[in-house]
Structure formats: structure tokens, C-alpha cells
Symmetry: C2
Subunit: 171 residues, 2 copies
Amino acid sequence: MHSVAVASRSADPRDSRESRNGGPQLDAVSLAIIEQLQEDGRRPYAAIGKAVGLSEAAVRQRVQKLLDQGVMQIVAVTDPLTVGFRRQAMVGINVEGDVESVADALTAMSECEYVVMTAGSFDLMVEIVCEDDDHLLDVINKRIRAVPGVRSTESFVYLKLKKQTYMWGTR
Amino acid sequence: MHSVAVASRSADPRDSRESRNGGPQLDAVSLAIIEQLQEDGRRPYAAIGKAVGLSEAAVRQRVQKLLDQGVMQIVAVTDPLTVGFRRQAMVGINVEGDVESVADALTAMSECEYVVMTAGSFDLMVEIVCEDDDHLLDVINKRIRAVPGVRSTESFVYLKLKKQTYMWGTR
DNA sequence: CTCTCGATTGCGAAATCCGCAGGGTTTGTG
DNA sequence: CACAAACCCTGCGGATTTCGCAATCGAGAG
């Protein structure tokens, strides 16, 4: 049991990627584990272990670590329309002054589902999820534009969501 | 299995009134179950049952049904930057002719993580995930602009992802 | 070589998952 | 009203999985 099984895994922990921001580096095995859990977040550890060539306990430890480190999270994702949120929009925002402080303010708003700092003709892009038109109007015109530093906004109301995947790292 | 938004709904014979896009009506209990799984996708059925006032078996059956119906899926989600995709961008697209056919073409591209038809100064917004700058350039200038009907594109390269939640229905 | 540290393994015990049978409740029909 | 069918829930074993822990392995550092 000790003699074989080693030939396969050559975990290559050194610079697969290390360049920036506190990202803990992931080896090929952790990537494979994530891939398994992207297919089914409830897949048993033993099944994952069989797929990636690790024992059940080792998989469990690595998964726990990935969760603790915030590298991934295992959650239920839904189609907003089926849970009562009928209006969504992407909002492009231009900022004067500190972009990050504006981003933090938007992050604190529960309707803001997704906040990203960008390069281009917008400084920030924010996805917002609302229950109806009134709610959407209120969030955009009253709440977002009230944030200090927000110079202008442009809204793109969702008409139809065509694709939404969670297969990052799976290609 | 890749798309949430357009997940097929099982022909539900007795659909009294699920007007349009909406799927099956979710009662308060199913919503509470989803909420539990949005906090932790691996939470045991018994614990969920205790939280929502149902037996373990009942929770299990409801969860299975929600998964089968495509109302939700339980998956691992990651920050693409930490799993080796260093360049992301939101791309706004203007289309001449049929928007939906363009959307379908983009949906077929694996680099397109998110495709949505919008109202506003863009007809489509697409989030793309790439490994590096070359890859990003190739996708935008060669692949997306080559799609028939694409009139123009505007890119917003991601600098920093500030927020990414999956708490729909939790408010 | 020796020691340390992190990752992995093996293994029981406890908890969880799973399928199935049974019992209410509601709906539709004769 | 009676009856059947469809649904949803509960309870209960048995199989499976999770969990915690001690022992082992491997790569460095001293």
C-alpha cells in the first residue's frame, strides 16, 4: 500500500502561481478536488478521494482548509427569478476620489450581489438583485447615488439570463 | 448541468399557475431550506430539519426535488484569481439583428462564464474568464467579434473582486 | 544523521444518508 | 358520500459517510 500510488501525484506546490495578492497557491490535487465539488457540492469525501487519488481523510482535511482559507465555499445557488426576485441589473459606476471606499459602501448593501473594480469607462460594476421595479429604482437612485464619491451611474436592466456557470477552474 | 437560468423544468402536470418564466412556487419551508443551504451547502439534513421544523427524510426529499427541478444547485464556488485565472472582464456588446442568436453563440464559448441580455446602451453583457492577457485578447478580439451580428464591444477588465455572494432569498 | 513540521493514512465510533413502508390530507370523480 | 389517486410527511433499519486521533511518511533545516 505504501509502495505504489506515489508515481501519480507529483504535487507541484511551487510557483504554479504566486505573483500577487494573498492567494494561497493551489496544487493540482486541490484543483481536482474543487473540480469535483463544482460538479456536486455534496459529493462524499471517499468518492472525491477515489477520483483524485487521495484517502478520504486527506480529502476531508484539504476541503476544510480550502474552506477556512476562503479559497472556495460550498453553497446552494438559485435562479433569482424562482425565489421571488424579478428585477436584476448591472450598474456601471464612475467614482471621484477613492474607488475602494465606494466599493466597500456598495458591498455593505444587501441588494448588491456582486461588486468588482474595473478598468475602462466604468470604475466599478455592480450587480443588483431586487424584488420589483420600485425596489430597483430605489436602490439605484436613492441608495447607490447617495454614496459619497459616486459621480455617475449607468444601468443595464436584465432582460434574460442566458448562462450562469460555476465551473471556474474546470477547463 | 451548466446553466441555472435555463435549467429544464420537469413537466409539472398540475401547474395551476406558474405564469411564465417562474418555476414552481416555493413555499416558506422550501425557502427556509434553501436559506440553510446557502449558509452551508453540506449541512446535514437532520440539522436543516431541526431549523425549519421538518423531519430529516422530508428535508431530503425536498432538497432532491429542488435539485431535480433546477431551482437550485449545490456547488463549490471559488474566486477565479485563486484558481489560476488571472484575467477577467465584463464585456458590453451591441448587436445588429437577432440578439438571442448572438447570445447563444457566446453561451457556447467556455470562456463566457455569464451571459445576459440587457436593456440600456448594451444589448448583451458577458463575463469572461481567462488565464492571461493573451487569452483575454484572443477571446475578445478574435472570438467574440467574429460572431455574426456583433456590431461593437466595450471591455471592462477586472481589477479586484470585492463581493460575490449567493444569498438570494435570504433577505 | 537527527529533528521538526506539514501532509497523509488507517481505523473505530458516531453521525448521516438512503430507500421503503405506512399514514394523513387534499383533489377530483362517480 | 364514497372512493381513488396524488402528495407530503414520518419512522425505521441498514449501508454509507463523517469525524477525531494516533501513527507514518517526506522534505528540509540544523
